[in-house]
């Protein structure tokens, strides 16, 4: 029995998705996420243009990553048993995902806005405010790069291999409020 969607139900606190094995080497396997969001994969995607910027394949290819033997054996999977086309379930901590989104989008934006407001108050010029916003955005991106490198070094952004997608159906942990 195959899990049919890329976004699968995960325990609270984790976000699971399905990846496909695209290459297997002696000591690692290369994985590529499946397109699973509603936009871009729905029947009207060709008409609405959600696939317009770059092909779907090229975007997914850019998100390929490798897992090592230890990571695979941690999920009870032997790297030698994997073959191209196998589907696997990977999970990432939802908190880490939100932190990453805040880091990538929130930090540069906050820096740009702060710089723009300060420049507007100081000079009263829209042009200076715009220049300050661009400078703030660049500075924010620089800080984001360092903070993201620290997060990546801790392994917080590395998805964890959970199981084969077609081996066991995902269990839905019923999480009722107050329980």
């Amino acid at each position: 029995m195959q899990e049919s969607t890329s976004q699968v139900c995960a325990p609270a606190g984790e976000q699971e998705s399905i990846v496909r094995v695209v290459a297997v080497e002696a000591d690692r396997a290369w994985l590529e996420p499946e397109q699973g969001m509603s936009c871009g994969s729905c029947a009207s995607a060709a008409a609405c243009g959600a696939k317009g910027l770059g092909t779907l394949a090229s975007r997914l290819e850019a998100r390929r990553y490798a897992i090592g033997r230890a990571s695979a054996s941690g999920a009870g999977i032997d790297l030698a048993d994997l073959s191209v086309g196998d589907r696997l379930v990977v999970a990432i901590d939802a908190g880490a995902l939100l932190k990453a989104a805040g880091l990538a989008y929130g930090l540069p934006l906050a820096a740009a806005l702060a710089a723009a407001i300060v420049a507007q108050e100081a000079t009263g010029s829209d042009g200076m405010a715009l220049l300050a916003a661009v400078a703030g955005l660049a500075a924010g991106l620089g800080v984001m790069k360092r903070a993201a490198a620290r997060m990546a070094a801790r392994g917080a952004l590395q998805p964890r291999l959970v199981r084969r997608a077609d081996a066991v159906r995902t269990l839905i942990r019923i999480h009722r409020p107050g329980s």
């Binding site: 609405c48 959600a50 989104a101 955005l137 990546a152």
Partner: protein
Amino acid sequence: MREYLLLLVSAALVNNVILARFLGLCSFMGVTTRVDTALGMGMATTFVITVSSMADWAVEAWLLQPYGLGYLRTVTFILVIAAAVQFTEMSVKKLSPALFRTLGIYLPLITTNCAVLGVALLLVEGRMSFVHSTLFALFSSLGYTLVMAIFAGLRERLALADAPRLFEGPPLGFITASLLALAFMGFSGISG
């Protein structure tokens, strides 16, 4: 400070992008099955709306208006939005490949989000200064994120509810969305 607060209430609650202007409904229905996914999408959209509104303000003030090119506004803004999304995607990819792999799911979906273009066109009507228009865009997108998170929370609970089979999934989602829109109509009293 008071005018910024009024701008926040007006843009995020009274004239909410999703529930009052009915923009961005595709992502509203498509990416709200989990709260964390909805929040991530909201943050990415907030970034793109704000950055593209900055660029749109500059294009409008220094190119379209002075040269009488207002009839090219929609096409130009679409180009600017697509460029802003590409810029964001490329920046994150270059600066942090690990972050890009983690967040890559959100950005391609924003290019065709009509909320981004809608906010940019609303800003032109408002004829605001750079900082005011940027803050209006930020607050509008925070309103978008708020509604996405609320709706995702409701849908997470509804997924476990014992609903009649015909109402399961999108039908119940649409009914919930309409009730949420009615609730947000209550904020319109603030502007009166």
